[in-house]
Protein backbone atom coordinates (compact mmCIF):
# COMPACT_ATOMS: atom_id res chain seq x y z
CA UNK A 1 0.00 0.00 0.00
CA UNK A 2 3.03 2.27 0.13
CA UNK A 3 2.72 2.77 -3.61
CA UNK A 4 -0.67 4.45 -3.33
CA UNK A 5 0.54 8.09 -3.10
CA UNK A 6 2.73 7.57 -6.16
CA UNK A 7 -0.23 6.20 -8.05
CA UNK A 8 -2.35 9.19 -7.21
CA UNK A 9 0.35 11.67 -8.15
CA UNK A 10 0.65 9.87 -11.47
CA UNK A 11 -3.11 9.83 -11.87
CA UNK A 12 -3.47 13.53 -11.23
CA UNK A 13 -0.62 14.28 -13.65
CA UNK A 14 -2.31 12.21 -16.32
CA UNK A 15 -5.67 13.82 -15.66
CA UNK A 16 -4.11 17.28 -15.98
CA UNK A 17 -2.33 16.31 -19.16
CA UNK A 18 -5.41 14.82 -20.79
CA UNK A 19 -8.14 17.10 -19.61
CA UNK A 20 -6.67 20.45 -18.57
CA UNK A 21 -6.10 21.86 -22.08
CA UNK A 22 -9.71 21.01 -22.90
CA UNK A 23 -10.90 22.57 -19.65
CA UNK A 24 -8.94 25.70 -20.52
CA UNK A 25 -10.64 25.80 -23.91
CA UNK A 26 -14.07 25.65 -22.27
CA UNK A 27 -13.10 28.22 -19.66
CA UNK A 28 -11.84 30.66 -22.30
CA UNK A 29 -14.99 30.13 -24.38
CA UNK A 30 -17.12 31.16 -21.40
CA UNK A 31 -15.15 34.31 -20.57
CA UNK A 32 -15.90 37.91 -21.45
CA UNK A 33 -13.29 39.45 -23.72
CA UNK A 34 -11.78 41.60 -20.95
CA UNK A 35 -11.30 38.47 -18.86
CA UNK A 36 -9.71 36.51 -21.69
CA UNK A 37 -6.81 38.95 -21.85
CA UNK A 38 -6.58 39.61 -18.10
CA UNK A 39 -3.32 39.15 -16.21
CA UNK A 40 -3.14 37.04 -14.16
CA UNK A 41 -5.53 34.73 -16.05
CA UNK A 42 -8.43 33.29 -14.04
CA UNK A 43 -8.93 29.53 -14.01
CA UNK A 44 -12.71 29.79 -13.88
CA UNK A 45 -14.52 32.72 -15.50
CA UNK A 46 -15.74 35.25 -12.91
CA UNK A 47 -18.65 36.28 -15.12
CA UNK A 48 -19.48 33.28 -17.32
CA UNK A 49 -21.19 34.29 -20.52
CA UNK A 50 -22.46 32.63 -23.68
CA UNK A 51 -21.63 35.73 -25.69
CA UNK A 52 -18.82 33.98 -27.62
CA UNK A 53 -21.13 31.16 -28.64
CA UNK A 54 -23.80 33.63 -29.67
CA UNK A 55 -21.39 35.54 -31.89
CA UNK A 56 -20.14 32.28 -33.39
CA UNK A 57 -23.66 31.15 -34.27
CA UNK A 58 -24.99 34.46 -35.55
CA UNK A 59 -22.04 36.25 -37.13
CA UNK A 60 -20.26 33.41 -38.90
CA UNK A 61 -21.07 30.48 -41.17
CA UNK A 62 -20.52 28.07 -38.29
CA UNK A 63 -24.04 26.60 -38.40
CA UNK A 64 -23.62 25.81 -42.11
CA UNK A 65 -20.26 24.13 -41.50
CA UNK A 66 -21.77 22.16 -38.63
CA UNK A 67 -24.67 20.95 -40.73
CA UNK A 68 -22.30 19.89 -43.50
CA UNK A 69 -20.12 17.98 -41.06
CA UNK A 70 -23.14 16.17 -39.62
CA UNK A 71 -24.45 15.25 -43.09
CA UNK A 72 -21.09 14.06 -44.38
CA UNK A 73 -20.18 12.10 -41.24
CA UNK A 74 -23.59 10.41 -40.98
CA UNK A 75 -23.59 9.46 -44.67
CA UNK A 76 -20.04 8.15 -44.36
CA UNK A 77 -20.91 5.97 -41.37
CA UNK A 78 -23.98 4.55 -43.14
CA UNK A 79 -22.16 3.85 -46.39
CA UNK A 80 -19.04 2.44 -44.75
CA UNK A 81 -20.98 0.07 -42.50
CA UNK A 82 -23.11 -1.18 -45.40
CA UNK A 83 -20.24 -1.72 -47.81
CA UNK A 84 -17.89 -3.26 -45.26
CA UNK A 85 -20.57 -5.52 -43.73
CA UNK A 86 -21.37 -6.89 -47.20
CA UNK A 87 -17.68 -7.37 -47.94
CA UNK A 88 -16.84 -8.92 -44.59
CA UNK A 89 -19.79 -11.30 -44.91
CA UNK A 90 -18.48 -12.41 -48.30
CA UNK A 91 -15.01 -12.90 -46.86
CA UNK A 92 -16.26 -15.16 -44.07
CA UNK A 93 -19.30 -16.99 -45.47
CA UNK A 94 -18.53 -17.68 -49.13
CA UNK A 95 -15.71 -19.78 -50.50
CA UNK A 96 -14.02 -18.64 -53.67
CA UNK A 97 -10.48 -18.76 -54.91
CA UNK A 98 -8.34 -15.72 -54.18
CA UNK A 99 -10.45 -14.83 -51.16
CA UNK A 100 -7.63 -14.57 -48.64
CA UNK A 101 -5.34 -12.87 -51.14
CA UNK A 102 -7.99 -10.21 -51.66
CA UNK A 103 -8.31 -9.75 -47.89
CA UNK A 104 -4.53 -9.28 -47.63
CA UNK A 105 -4.45 -6.78 -50.48
CA UNK A 106 -7.27 -4.80 -48.86
CA UNK A 107 -5.22 -4.48 -45.68
CA UNK A 108 -2.24 -3.33 -47.74
CA UNK A 109 -4.20 -0.33 -49.04
CA UNK A 110 -4.53 0.80 -45.41
CA UNK A 111 -0.81 1.56 -45.43
CA UNK A 112 -1.19 4.46 -47.84
CA UNK A 113 -1.55 7.86 -46.20
CA UNK A 114 -3.98 10.21 -47.96
CA UNK A 115 -1.22 12.79 -48.48
CA UNK A 116 0.61 10.32 -50.72
CA UNK A 117 -2.21 10.11 -53.25
CA UNK A 118 -3.99 13.42 -52.82
CA UNK A 119 -2.85 14.88 -56.16
CA UNK A 120 -4.06 12.05 -58.44
CA UNK A 121 -7.08 11.76 -56.17
CA UNK A 122 -7.94 15.39 -56.78
CA UNK A 123 -7.49 15.06 -60.54
CA UNK A 124 -9.65 11.92 -60.57
CA UNK A 125 -12.44 13.53 -58.56
CA UNK A 126 -12.34 16.49 -60.92
CA UNK A 127 -12.59 14.18 -63.94
CA UNK A 128 -15.61 12.50 -62.37
CA UNK A 129 -17.19 15.92 -62.05
CA UNK A 130 -17.80 15.65 -58.31
CA UNK A 131 -15.17 18.10 -57.09
CA UNK A 132 -16.63 20.54 -54.56
CA UNK A 133 -19.49 18.20 -53.56
CA UNK A 134 -20.31 16.42 -50.30
CA UNK A 135 -20.42 13.18 -52.27
CA UNK A 136 -16.69 13.50 -52.97
CA UNK A 137 -15.99 13.73 -49.24
CA UNK A 138 -18.27 10.80 -48.38
CA UNK A 139 -16.61 8.60 -51.00
CA UNK A 140 -13.09 9.57 -49.85
CA UNK A 141 -13.79 8.89 -46.19
CA UNK A 142 -15.60 5.64 -46.93
CA UNK A 143 -12.68 4.43 -49.00
CA UNK A 144 -10.14 5.26 -46.34
CA UNK A 145 -12.18 3.64 -43.56
CA UNK A 146 -12.96 0.49 -45.54
CA UNK A 147 -9.78 -1.57 -45.01
CA UNK A 148 -9.95 -1.20 -41.23
CA UNK A 149 -13.71 -1.78 -41.01
CA UNK A 150 -13.61 -4.79 -43.34
CA UNK A 151 -10.95 -6.45 -41.23
CA UNK A 152 -12.64 -5.60 -37.98
CA UNK A 153 -16.03 -6.95 -39.11
CA UNK A 154 -14.39 -9.97 -40.69
CA UNK A 155 -12.95 -10.97 -37.32
CA UNK A 156 -16.36 -10.44 -35.67
CA UNK A 157 -18.24 -12.45 -38.31
CA UNK A 158 -15.67 -15.23 -38.01
CA UNK A 159 -16.41 -15.55 -34.31
CA UNK A 160 -20.14 -16.12 -34.93
CA UNK A 161 -20.79 -19.87 -35.31
CA UNK A 162 -22.33 -20.93 -38.60
CA UNK A 163 -24.73 -23.18 -36.69
CA UNK A 164 -26.70 -20.18 -35.42
CA UNK A 165 -27.30 -19.02 -38.96
CA UNK A 166 -28.10 -22.52 -40.15
CA UNK A 167 -30.61 -22.93 -37.33
CA UNK A 168 -32.40 -19.80 -38.51
CA UNK A 169 -32.39 -21.10 -42.07
CA UNK A 170 -33.84 -24.44 -40.93
CA UNK A 171 -36.55 -22.51 -39.09
CA UNK A 172 -37.61 -21.17 -42.48
CA UNK A 173 -35.91 -17.80 -42.55
CA UNK A 174 -34.25 -16.85 -45.80
CA UNK A 175 -30.61 -15.82 -45.93
CA UNK A 176 -31.31 -12.12 -45.72
CA UNK A 177 -33.48 -12.54 -42.62
CA UNK A 178 -30.92 -14.82 -41.02
CA UNK A 179 -28.23 -12.19 -41.51
CA UNK A 180 -30.44 -9.37 -40.31
CA UNK A 181 -31.80 -11.14 -37.20
CA UNK A 182 -28.90 -13.38 -36.21
CA UNK A 183 -25.55 -12.28 -37.61
CA UNK A 184 -25.77 -8.49 -37.37
CA UNK A 185 -27.09 -8.36 -33.77
CA UNK A 186 -24.28 -10.67 -32.65
CA UNK A 187 -21.72 -8.53 -34.46
CA UNK A 188 -23.12 -5.34 -32.91
CA UNK A 189 -20.01 -4.47 -30.85
CA UNK A 190 -17.96 -4.74 -34.01
CA UNK A 191 -20.40 -2.57 -35.93
CA UNK A 192 -20.30 0.01 -33.16
CA UNK A 193 -16.51 0.04 -33.05
CA UNK A 194 -16.43 0.47 -36.84
CA UNK A 195 -18.99 3.28 -36.56
CA UNK A 196 -16.91 5.14 -33.93
CA UNK A 197 -13.78 4.83 -36.02
CA UNK A 198 -15.53 6.01 -39.17
CA UNK A 199 -17.41 8.87 -37.55
CA UNK A 200 -14.30 10.27 -35.89
CA UNK A 201 -12.27 10.03 -39.09
CA UNK A 202 -14.96 11.79 -41.13
CA UNK A 203 -15.67 14.41 -38.45
CA UNK A 204 -11.99 15.26 -37.97
CA UNK A 205 -10.59 15.08 -41.49
CA UNK A 206 -8.82 18.16 -42.73
CA UNK A 207 -6.87 17.25 -45.87
CA UNK A 208 -9.67 16.00 -48.14
CA UNK A 209 -11.97 18.82 -47.09
CA UNK A 210 -9.19 21.32 -47.78
CA UNK A 211 -8.42 20.02 -51.25
CA UNK A 212 -11.81 18.89 -52.55
CA UNK A 213 -14.09 21.66 -51.28
CA UNK A 214 -13.93 25.29 -52.33
CA UNK A 215 -17.30 26.87 -51.65
CA UNK A 216 -18.37 28.00 -48.20
CA UNK A 217 -21.84 26.42 -48.41
CA UNK A 218 -20.49 22.86 -48.37
CA UNK A 219 -17.36 23.29 -46.24
CA UNK A 220 -17.07 21.05 -43.20
CA UNK A 221 -16.09 22.22 -39.71
CA UNK A 222 -12.29 21.77 -39.62
CA UNK A 223 -11.65 23.81 -42.76
CA UNK A 224 -14.41 26.30 -41.95
CA UNK A 225 -13.01 26.98 -38.49
CA UNK A 226 -9.49 27.27 -39.87
CA UNK A 227 -10.82 29.97 -42.21
CA UNK A 228 -12.36 31.79 -39.24
CA UNK A 229 -9.04 31.50 -37.41
CA UNK A 230 -7.12 33.00 -40.32
CA UNK A 231 -9.71 35.62 -41.23
CA UNK A 232 -8.70 38.66 -39.18
CA UNK A 233 -7.31 39.38 -35.75
CA UNK A 234 -7.99 36.19 -33.86
CA UNK A 235 -11.13 36.39 -31.75
CA UNK A 236 -9.92 33.89 -29.13
CA UNK A 237 -13.18 33.65 -27.22
CA UNK A 238 -15.13 32.81 -30.35
CA UNK A 239 -12.48 30.40 -31.67
CA UNK A 240 -12.45 28.53 -28.36
CA UNK A 241 -16.26 28.40 -28.46
CA UNK A 242 -15.95 26.86 -31.92
CA UNK A 243 -13.44 24.36 -30.52
CA UNK A 244 -15.90 23.37 -27.80
CA UNK A 245 -18.71 22.97 -30.32
CA UNK A 246 -16.63 20.73 -32.62
CA UNK A 247 -15.20 18.63 -29.83
CA UNK A 248 -18.45 17.98 -28.03
CA UNK A 249 -20.13 15.74 -30.67
CA UNK A 250 -17.05 13.57 -31.18
CA UNK A 251 -16.58 13.10 -27.44
CA UNK A 252 -20.29 12.63 -26.75
CA UNK A 253 -20.65 10.14 -29.58
CA UNK A 254 -17.72 8.19 -28.20
CA UNK A 255 -18.93 8.25 -24.60
CA UNK A 256 -22.47 7.29 -25.64
CA UNK A 257 -21.54 4.28 -27.72
CA UNK A 258 -18.54 3.17 -25.69
CA UNK A 259 -20.89 1.93 -22.97
CA UNK A 260 -22.72 -0.18 -25.55
CA UNK A 261 -19.41 -1.43 -26.74
CA UNK A 262 -18.58 -2.76 -23.29
CA UNK A 263 -22.12 -4.08 -22.71
CA UNK A 264 -22.06 -5.67 -26.13
CA UNK A 265 -18.95 -7.57 -25.22
CA UNK A 266 -20.52 -8.76 -21.98
CA UNK A 267 -23.97 -9.53 -23.32
CA UNK A 268 -22.84 -11.09 -26.58
CA UNK A 269 -24.14 -14.65 -26.88
CA UNK A 270 -20.93 -15.84 -28.43
CA UNK A 271 -17.46 -15.71 -26.98
CA UNK A 272 -14.83 -15.25 -29.65
Amino acid sequence: MTRRPGLYVGGVTLLTLGAFPLFWMLSTALKRSDEIFATPPRLVPAHPTLENFWRLLTETNFVVFFKNSVLVSAATVALTLTVSALGAYALTRYRFCGRDTVAGLILLTYMFAPIMIIIPFYILVKQLGIVNTRLALVLSYTTFCLPFCLWLLRSFFESIPLELEEAALVDGANRRRAVWHVVLPLALPGLIAAAIFTFILAWNDFLFALVLITSDEIKTLPVGVNDLFNATIVDWGMIMAAGVMITAPAVMFFVAVQRHLVQGWGAGGVKG
Binding site: T39, I115, P120, L124, F206, N230, V255
Partner: protein
Protein backbone atom coordinates in the same frame (compact mmCIF):
# COMPACT_ATOMS: atom_id res chain seq x y z
CA UNK B 1 -20.21 -23.88 -55.85
CA UNK B 2 -20.14 -21.61 -58.88
CA UNK B 3 -23.04 -19.62 -57.54
CA UNK B 4 -21.38 -19.28 -54.14
CA UNK B 5 -18.27 -17.75 -55.67
CA UNK B 6 -20.35 -15.38 -57.74
CA UNK B 7 -22.35 -14.17 -54.73
CA UNK B 8 -19.12 -13.74 -52.78
CA UNK B 9 -17.55 -11.54 -55.42
CA UNK B 10 -20.79 -9.65 -55.84
CA UNK B 11 -20.91 -8.77 -52.13
CA UNK B 12 -17.26 -7.72 -52.24
CA UNK B 13 -17.73 -5.67 -55.39
CA UNK B 14 -18.61 -2.32 -53.74
CA UNK B 15 -15.51 -2.53 -51.51
CA UNK B 16 -13.22 -3.51 -54.37
CA UNK B 17 -14.66 -0.86 -56.64
CA UNK B 18 -14.04 1.90 -54.09
CA UNK B 19 -10.57 0.72 -53.09
CA UNK B 20 -9.55 -0.01 -56.66
CA UNK B 21 -10.87 3.26 -58.03
CA UNK B 22 -9.94 5.62 -55.21
CA UNK B 23 -6.75 4.10 -53.76
CA UNK B 24 -5.07 1.65 -56.15
CA UNK B 25 -5.68 3.64 -59.31
CA UNK B 26 -4.47 6.93 -57.76
CA UNK B 27 -1.30 5.19 -56.52
CA UNK B 28 -0.47 4.00 -60.03
CA UNK B 29 -1.55 7.26 -61.60
CA UNK B 30 0.63 9.11 -59.11
CA UNK B 31 3.72 7.15 -60.18
CA UNK B 32 2.90 7.89 -63.82
CA UNK B 33 2.23 11.56 -63.10
CA UNK B 34 5.64 11.97 -61.44
CA UNK B 35 7.23 11.56 -64.88
CA UNK B 36 5.39 14.57 -66.26
CA UNK B 37 5.61 18.30 -66.05
CA UNK B 38 1.95 19.00 -65.31
CA UNK B 39 -0.06 21.93 -64.05
CA UNK B 40 -2.31 20.96 -61.12
CA UNK B 41 -5.52 22.42 -62.53
CA UNK B 42 -4.95 22.67 -66.28
CA UNK B 43 -4.82 19.67 -68.63
CA UNK B 44 -1.49 20.66 -70.23
CA UNK B 45 1.28 18.14 -69.57
CA UNK B 46 4.66 17.17 -71.02
CA UNK B 47 6.62 13.98 -70.48
CA UNK B 48 9.93 14.75 -68.76
CA UNK B 49 11.11 11.32 -67.59
CA UNK B 50 13.03 11.44 -64.33
CA UNK B 51 13.62 15.18 -64.45
CA UNK B 52 11.45 15.87 -61.40
CA UNK B 53 13.46 13.39 -59.34
CA UNK B 54 16.77 14.81 -60.55
CA UNK B 55 15.57 18.27 -59.60
CA UNK B 56 14.91 17.26 -56.01
CA UNK B 57 18.33 15.64 -55.64
CA UNK B 58 19.80 19.14 -55.80
CA UNK B 59 16.92 20.99 -54.14
CA UNK B 60 17.85 22.50 -50.80
CA UNK B 61 14.20 22.85 -49.78
CA UNK B 62 13.70 19.14 -50.34
CA UNK B 63 16.64 18.16 -48.13
CA UNK B 64 15.45 20.59 -45.47
CA UNK B 65 12.03 18.96 -45.53
CA UNK B 66 13.62 15.52 -45.10
CA UNK B 67 15.59 16.89 -42.17
CA UNK B 68 12.57 18.55 -40.52
CA UNK B 69 10.46 15.46 -41.14
CA UNK B 70 13.06 13.23 -39.50
CA UNK B 71 13.47 15.50 -36.47
CA UNK B 72 9.71 15.79 -36.11
CA UNK B 73 8.88 12.10 -36.38
CA UNK B 74 11.90 11.00 -34.32
CA UNK B 75 11.21 13.39 -31.44
CA UNK B 76 7.46 12.83 -31.37
CA UNK B 77 7.79 9.02 -31.35
CA UNK B 78 10.32 9.00 -28.51
CA UNK B 79 8.19 11.40 -26.46
CA UNK B 80 4.94 9.58 -27.20
CA UNK B 81 6.52 6.41 -25.84
CA UNK B 82 8.02 8.27 -22.88
CA UNK B 83 4.56 9.58 -21.92
CA UNK B 84 2.37 6.75 -23.19
CA UNK B 85 4.10 3.71 -21.70
CA UNK B 86 4.22 4.98 -18.08
CA UNK B 87 0.63 6.17 -18.46
CA UNK B 88 -0.43 2.70 -19.61
CA UNK B 89 1.44 1.07 -16.71
CA UNK B 90 -0.36 3.42 -14.33
CA UNK B 91 -3.77 2.70 -15.84
CA UNK B 92 -3.09 -1.02 -15.50
CA UNK B 93 -2.97 -0.67 -11.69
CA UNK B 94 -6.07 -0.78 -9.50
CA UNK B 95 -7.19 2.53 -8.01
CA UNK B 96 -10.35 4.52 -7.59
CA UNK B 97 -11.28 6.58 -10.65
CA UNK B 98 -9.20 4.41 -12.97
CA UNK B 99 -11.95 3.75 -15.50
CA UNK B 100 -12.81 7.44 -15.64
CA UNK B 101 -9.15 8.29 -16.24
CA UNK B 102 -8.92 5.67 -18.98
CA UNK B 103 -11.69 7.53 -20.79
CA UNK B 104 -10.27 11.02 -20.20
CA UNK B 105 -6.84 10.06 -21.49
CA UNK B 106 -8.40 9.25 -24.86
CA UNK B 107 -9.80 12.74 -25.41
CA UNK B 108 -6.76 14.36 -27.04
CA UNK B 109 -6.79 11.56 -29.61
CA UNK B 110 -10.51 11.97 -30.34
CA UNK B 111 -10.64 15.69 -30.93
CA UNK B 112 -10.13 17.13 -34.42
CA UNK B 113 -6.63 18.28 -35.29
CA UNK B 114 -7.84 21.81 -35.90
CA UNK B 115 -9.01 21.99 -32.27
CA UNK B 116 -5.76 20.61 -30.89
CA UNK B 117 -3.79 23.15 -32.90
CA UNK B 118 -5.82 26.28 -32.07
CA UNK B 119 -5.92 25.18 -28.43
CA UNK B 120 -2.14 24.90 -28.22
CA UNK B 121 -1.67 28.12 -30.16
CA UNK B 122 -3.77 29.77 -27.46
CA UNK B 123 -1.87 28.11 -24.60
CA UNK B 124 1.46 29.07 -26.21
CA UNK B 125 0.38 32.58 -27.27
CA UNK B 126 3.28 34.92 -26.49
CA UNK B 127 1.33 37.76 -24.84
CA UNK B 128 -1.73 36.11 -23.29
CA UNK B 129 -0.89 32.40 -23.26
CA UNK B 130 -1.12 30.41 -20.05
CA UNK B 131 2.26 28.73 -20.57
CA UNK B 132 4.17 32.00 -20.69
CA UNK B 133 2.19 33.31 -17.75
CA UNK B 134 3.04 30.28 -15.60
CA UNK B 135 6.71 30.35 -16.61
CA UNK B 136 6.95 34.06 -15.81
CA UNK B 137 5.17 33.62 -12.49
CA UNK B 138 7.49 30.75 -11.54
CA UNK B 139 10.51 32.82 -12.54
CA UNK B 140 11.71 30.29 -15.12
CA UNK B 141 11.87 32.98 -17.80
CA UNK B 142 12.19 36.72 -17.35
CA UNK B 143 10.45 37.76 -20.58
CA UNK B 144 7.65 36.11 -22.57
CA UNK B 145 8.93 33.50 -25.00
CA UNK B 146 7.77 33.56 -28.63
CA UNK B 147 6.87 29.87 -28.73
CA UNK B 148 5.34 30.21 -32.17
CA UNK B 149 8.27 32.19 -33.57
CA UNK B 150 10.93 30.57 -35.71
CA UNK B 151 13.20 29.47 -32.85
CA UNK B 152 10.61 27.44 -30.98
CA UNK B 153 7.99 26.55 -33.56
CA UNK B 154 9.39 23.02 -34.01
CA UNK B 155 9.20 22.44 -30.24
CA UNK B 156 5.65 23.76 -30.12
CA UNK B 157 4.71 21.48 -32.99
CA UNK B 158 6.28 18.51 -31.22
CA UNK B 159 4.49 19.25 -27.94
CA UNK B 160 1.14 19.62 -29.71
CA UNK B 161 1.63 16.38 -31.64
CA UNK B 162 2.76 14.38 -28.62
CA UNK B 163 -0.27 15.60 -26.69
CA UNK B 164 -2.55 14.68 -29.57
CA UNK B 165 -1.17 11.22 -30.28
CA UNK B 166 0.18 9.72 -27.04
CA UNK B 167 -3.26 8.21 -26.20
CA UNK B 168 -2.78 5.78 -29.08
CA UNK B 169 0.32 4.43 -27.33
CA UNK B 170 -1.57 4.24 -24.02
CA UNK B 171 -4.52 2.30 -25.43
CA UNK B 172 -2.47 -0.11 -27.50
CA UNK B 173 0.10 -0.79 -24.79
CA UNK B 174 -2.57 -1.12 -22.09
CA UNK B 175 -4.47 -3.68 -24.18
CA UNK B 176 -1.37 -5.87 -24.27
CA UNK B 177 -0.54 -5.32 -20.58
CA UNK B 178 -3.95 -6.68 -19.63
CA UNK B 179 -3.22 -10.00 -21.32
CA UNK B 180 -0.01 -10.69 -19.36
CA UNK B 181 -0.73 -13.66 -17.06
CA UNK B 182 -0.65 -12.49 -13.41
CA UNK B 183 1.22 -15.68 -12.48
CA UNK B 184 4.33 -14.28 -14.12
CA UNK B 185 4.31 -11.32 -11.75
CA UNK B 186 3.58 -13.51 -8.75
CA UNK B 187 6.49 -15.78 -9.63
CA UNK B 188 8.79 -12.75 -9.94
CA UNK B 189 7.53 -11.44 -6.62
CA UNK B 190 8.23 -14.78 -4.94
CA UNK B 191 11.75 -14.54 -6.34
CA UNK B 192 12.06 -11.18 -4.58
CA UNK B 193 11.97 -8.95 -7.65
CA UNK B 194 11.07 -5.29 -6.97
CA UNK B 195 8.85 -3.15 -9.17
CA UNK B 196 11.66 -2.10 -11.49
CA UNK B 197 12.98 -5.65 -11.97
CA UNK B 198 9.48 -6.96 -12.57
CA UNK B 199 9.11 -4.33 -15.29
CA UNK B 200 12.43 -5.22 -16.92
CA UNK B 201 12.14 -8.98 -16.64
CA UNK B 202 8.42 -9.58 -17.08
CA UNK B 203 6.67 -6.57 -18.61
CA UNK B 204 9.23 -5.57 -21.21
CA UNK B 205 9.81 -9.03 -22.70
CA UNK B 206 6.05 -9.62 -22.78
CA UNK B 207 5.35 -6.31 -24.53
CA UNK B 208 8.26 -6.31 -26.99
CA UNK B 209 6.13 -7.24 -29.96
CA UNK B 210 3.44 -4.65 -29.25
CA UNK B 211 6.13 -1.98 -28.87
CA UNK B 212 7.48 -3.11 -32.23
CA UNK B 213 4.08 -2.55 -33.82
CA UNK B 214 3.48 0.77 -32.01
CA UNK B 215 6.81 2.20 -33.14
CA UNK B 216 6.21 0.98 -36.70
CA UNK B 217 2.71 2.41 -37.03
CA UNK B 218 3.44 5.68 -35.26
CA UNK B 219 6.59 6.19 -37.35
CA UNK B 220 4.65 5.76 -40.57
CA UNK B 221 1.89 8.04 -39.34
CA UNK B 222 4.17 10.76 -37.98
CA UNK B 223 6.34 10.74 -41.10
CA UNK B 224 3.27 11.21 -43.31
CA UNK B 225 1.46 13.59 -40.91
CA UNK B 226 0.06 16.52 -42.81
CA UNK B 227 -2.71 18.36 -40.99
CA UNK B 228 -1.08 19.05 -37.61
CA UNK B 229 2.09 20.36 -39.24
CA UNK B 230 0.33 22.40 -41.89
CA UNK B 231 -2.10 23.97 -39.43
CA UNK B 232 0.63 24.72 -36.89
CA UNK B 233 2.68 26.47 -39.57
CA UNK B 234 -0.20 28.64 -40.73
CA UNK B 235 0.34 31.07 -43.56
CA UNK B 236 3.17 32.98 -41.95
CA UNK B 237 6.91 32.97 -42.49
CA UNK B 238 7.61 30.47 -39.71
CA UNK B 239 6.16 27.71 -41.88
CA UNK B 240 9.62 27.34 -43.43
CA UNK B 241 10.99 26.04 -40.15
CA UNK B 242 8.64 23.08 -39.87
CA UNK B 243 8.08 22.27 -43.53
CA UNK B 244 8.17 18.48 -43.45
CA UNK B 245 8.03 16.29 -46.54
CA UNK B 246 4.21 15.90 -46.65
CA UNK B 247 3.74 19.66 -46.33
CA UNK B 248 6.35 20.27 -49.02
CA UNK B 249 4.59 17.80 -51.33
CA UNK B 250 1.31 19.59 -50.71
CA UNK B 251 2.90 22.98 -51.38
CA UNK B 252 4.37 21.79 -54.70
CA UNK B 253 0.98 20.50 -55.86
CA UNK B 254 -1.41 23.09 -54.52
CA UNK B 255 0.62 26.26 -54.01
CA UNK B 256 3.11 26.09 -56.88
CA UNK B 257 0.56 24.02 -58.87
CA UNK B 258 3.25 21.60 -60.07
CA UNK B 259 1.34 18.31 -59.95
CA UNK B 260 4.23 16.32 -61.45
CA UNK B 261 6.65 17.59 -58.80
CA UNK B 262 4.18 16.90 -56.00
CA UNK B 263 3.60 13.40 -57.34
CA UNK B 264 7.36 12.77 -57.45
CA UNK B 265 7.64 13.83 -53.79
CA UNK B 266 4.85 11.42 -52.90
CA UNK B 267 6.73 8.60 -54.62
CA UNK B 268 9.94 9.57 -52.80
CA UNK B 269 8.04 9.56 -49.50
CA UNK B 270 6.68 6.11 -50.29
CA UNK B 271 10.12 4.71 -51.20
CA UNK B 272 11.63 6.15 -48.01
CA UNK B 273 8.92 4.49 -45.95
CA UNK B 274 9.44 1.13 -47.66
CA UNK B 275 13.22 1.29 -47.16
CA UNK B 276 12.90 2.39 -43.53
CA UNK B 277 10.29 -0.29 -42.79
CA UNK B 278 12.44 -3.00 -44.38
CA UNK B 279 15.49 -1.86 -42.39
CA UNK B 280 13.42 -1.74 -39.21
CA UNK B 281 12.14 -5.28 -39.70
CA UNK B 282 15.66 -6.52 -40.40
CA UNK B 283 17.23 -4.91 -37.34
CA UNK B 284 14.41 -6.08 -35.10
CA UNK B 285 14.64 -9.63 -36.37
CA UNK B 286 18.39 -9.71 -35.76
CA UNK B 287 17.75 -8.57 -32.20
CA UNK B 288 15.19 -11.35 -31.81
CA UNK B 289 17.76 -13.87 -32.99
CA UNK B 290 20.27 -12.60 -30.45
CA UNK B 291 18.01 -12.76 -27.46
Amino acid sequence: MRKQALTGWLLLAPSLLLLGGLVVFPILYNAWLSLFDKHSFLPAQAFVGLKNYRYFAGDEEFWNSVYYGTVYSGATIVLQLAVGVPAALLLNEMFRGRDFLRGVVLFPYLIPTIVAVILWKWLLNDSYGLVNHLLLAAGVVSAPVAWLGKDFIMWSLIVTSVWQFFPFVVVTYLARLQTIPPELYEAARVDGAGAWRRFVHVTLPQTRSVLFVIVLLRSIWMFTKFDTVWLMAGEGGVSRYIRTLPVYAYARSFTYLQAGMGAALAVIMFVMLIVATAAYFRVFRREEALS
